[in-house]
Symmetry: C2
Subunit: 314 residues, 2 copies
Amino acid sequence: MNIAIDVMGGDYAPEAVVDGILLAISNLAQEETILAVGPADTINTLLADRGYTGSQIRVINADQVIEMGEHPTRALSQKPNSSIGVGFALLKEGKADIFASAGNTGAMMVGSLFSVKTIEGVQRPAIAGFIPQTDGTHSVMLDIGANADCKPEMLEQWAVLGSVYASATRGIASPRVGLLNIGEEEQKGSILALATHALLKANDKLNFVGNLEGKDVFRGKADVIVTDGFTGNIVLKMGESIYNIMKEQGMVNEFVDRTNYENYGGSPIIGINGNVIIAHGASSPTAIMNMIKLCQNIVKSEVAKKIKAAFENN
Amino acid sequence: MNIAIDVMGGDYAPEAVVDGILLAISNLAQEETILAVGPADTINTLLADRGYTGSQIRVINADQVIEMGEHPTRALSQKPNSSIGVGFALLKEGKADIFASAGNTGAMMVGSLFSVKTIEGVQRPAIAGFIPQTDGTHSVMLDIGANADCKPEMLEQWAVLGSVYASATRGIASPRVGLLNIGEEEQKGSILALATHALLKANDKLNFVGNLEGKDVFRGKADVIVTDGFTGNIVLKMGESIYNIMKEQGMVNEFVDRTNYENYGGSPIIGINGNVIIAHGASSPTAIMNMIKLCQNIVKSEVAKKIKAAFENN
């Protein structure tokens, strides 16, 4: 297994990424390799400074960097030798099984669409986020921000994609799908939520458990939470803010700790022909370490392959 | 000041409402009266059972009850002598300065539109909710559910209405208005959020501080949070759920306690020619007591009058 990591991605790169990779090394099986993508000199110096002499990190040179504020499409075409550009080339050529970055989210999304491309039949890929549940599990929520304006058919597809993801990564036979909405009753909601509810209810491939309200987000009522990318982004970031607020007040327990995004390591892009992870811009070494664990789990679970199969059988 | 209370509204009515009124009595000034609207025999019995012999509660008979699940418009026309119907009649005739209920939200909204009516020039009234802030204050957020599908012009008006509300009730000279969105930058967001951002920025009557992300909801960045009723409802209910989750885990501190909806007592309907409060369906006596405090504050602040004046001068 080859896991490509963008060493230049994130607010604390390259140091935090190198430190995170080194934290993850002990969890790697012998046949697992990290492809550390970025300026070779910089990475080699950082690894040497930290006394690394192993063979499970392979440095892949990429001289350019796409900054956080850059326009995704323009940056990717003007900087083919950027760490993001090279990472996607590795993924496309099959030299990497997964590519992960804490860098420019837009560039990661555009890179996915241009390199491995959207699965045929999928209207729009989504970004999936993890929501801690009070029963000790976590739910996968999608979309969390790739698509601010949505159609009901997009949400229905994400329900299918999310179900395959939950099933592949967590072994749930028939994941419960909930629709984020403003009332429990079927006849409540926005035009989008009402139309989506009808589609989900009629889709016999889904285990649709109905609407979830805001109060249900953490309550273990669904394994997959479906929503538009506007609502999903706000819910995810609001949920993550609980950790910082409670930490400032000295109020961290097991549940609060699980609202810390560092524990999830990133958000998979779902609906493309490959495995791609976008990590939080402020990723610490711990977050990067968990990003690599997430990569291992996703590659082992063969998520992208199973999602593709689900659509081919449609 | 006459405060009309629907004694039959809420999951625990009439007992919880009568108990809440009795808790509030000691906070009333001599010239303040509670109009307890509902079946006179029932209310008088409950008051007698609790040993009440004062004169600040006036029982106003209303024989019918609109249940939680009833269709608002139909129920109001078929049950003119319901507690909600009689409450709105009192408000319309000027016999009550404010009407509050923990009953059928839809009926409270429809009753407002039919009795005191929308302020001329306001496209759609909104329901406002209170969001605790980590700096010890609270923000007013609107809409929280009356309008699931919105136009930018509606959100712009709510920014004005919310500013007048924050100014009248909290004495803030120039309330900071934030737009709930999925990025800090001006060019981020849904079609609705982008268009609303432009309107808010161009409106020189507003102190617009820009976009708020989900992580900013509790962070004291705005006195008024503007959003569509779909997002606002989910954010409000998710915020309220923090209290129950933390309470179960024995983790209540000052901030967590302020996420308990009981402390706010209800949500004002903003943009109508009168003062109306909708309280949580599960309101306890404490919640009803705080609902009455909110009523006193709103009447004293002359919110509806000031909002009307703000639109007349537009």
